[in-house]
């Protein structure tokens, strides 16, 4: 296991590359889904307003 994490001496480079990729794509995915949820709520609220008037 330790050998796997050592990556033949390239651990810093390999794991930084994979960590950065995971981080950037996760942030992009989470922020995109969150924004959609917020907007869907806003639209539902706006539709309710419309209905009440």
């Amino acid at each position: 296991m330790a050998e796997f994490f050592a990556m033949g001496g390239y651990a810093d480079f390999v794991w930084t590359a994979y960590g950065l990729t995971a981080a950037v794509l996760t942030v992009l995915a989470v922020s995109s889904v969150r924004r959609l949820k917020t907007l869907e709520r806003d639209l539902a609220a706006a539709a309710d307003d419309e209905h009440d008037r």
Binding site: M7, Y10, F13, V14, T16, A17, L20, V33, A46
Partner: protein, 248 residues
């Protein structure tokens, strides 16, 4: 296929509801298997050792940087030619995804370059043209949101996206046209890939995973964009109503 029909937000929502689980699930599956094969099952390179594993994120990210841009350019052309609102929404949705992949391509390339080339960065034709691609994405996003009038923002940024498409063949052939420190293509070659299957399989799986992830993210972001347009239209009618009411 009737593209006009897709501009109907309800119809687009139905289609994306149906496709989204397949894209997201397929991406998760491909990336899980690709990561296992890339990090564990594939052999270290006989020259580069385990640092070669950076390839499994670097190369797919580079392909995505260009693939997403090609999609952006098509959306830009559709936006200019047919004035189709869905094309504007698509362009705006895709640009940040493309910028993210381009950033990852540059960053992971740098992390691979340091141990293998002895430098984080060189101004060779491949690296420089990809850096320019990153700046074009940023400029597209900036220009798109620079106008109060969304239509003008969409139009100006679409023109920028089309002009910037010249960069795609330059990136692709930079390694053949100029003496670059960056190596030439190993996968898309006329005489077939020059990589062993044990490395080609995880590479392609990661690439398919990134592509499906891009489709999933683009759908989510396009849906958000369509709702945003709808909300803007609603508040416009409402303020127009209020304007009429104040005259009564």
């Amino acid at each position: 296929m009737n593209w006009q029909a897709l501009a109907n937000p309800a119809r687009f929502k139905r289609l994306s509801d149906r496709l989204l689980p397949w894209f997201a699930g397929g991406a998760a599956l491909c990336l899980a298997v690709g990561l296992y094969l890339g990090l564990v099952a594939s052999p270290p390179d006989y020259q580069q050792g385990d640092s070669v594993r950076i390839m499994y994120v670097h190369v797919p990210a580079a392909w995505m940087a260009m693939f997403v841009y090609a999609n952006l350019a098509v959306a830009a052309a559709a936006s200019l030619v047919w004035r189709h609102p869905l094309a504007d929404v698509a362009g705006r949705a895709m640009a940040p995804i493309g910028a993210a992949f381009t950033f990852l391509c540059l960053a992971t390339g740098s992390l691979w370059g340091k141990p293998m080339w002895g430098t984080w960065w060189v101004w060779d034709a491949r690296l420089t043209s990809v850096l320019i691609l990153f700046f074009v994405y940023i400029a597209y996003m900036a220009l798109n949101s620079a106008f109060d009038d969304d239509t003008r923002g969409a139009r100006s940024s679409a023109i920028l996206a089309l002009v910037g498409a010249i960069n795609l063949p330059i990136i692709k052939f930079s390694v053949d046209w100029w003496n670059t420190l960056h190596q030439p293509a190993s996968v898309s070659r006329l005489d077939g890939p020059s990589i062993h299957a044990s490395m080609l399989t995880p590479l392609l799986l990661m690439a398919v995973g990134f592509t499906l992830l891009f489709f999933a993210l683009a759908l989510v972001r396009m849906r958000a964009g369509l709702i945003e347009r709808r909300l803007a239209a609603l508040s416009y009618t409402r303020s127009a109503d209020a304007g009429v009411a104040s005259f009564r």
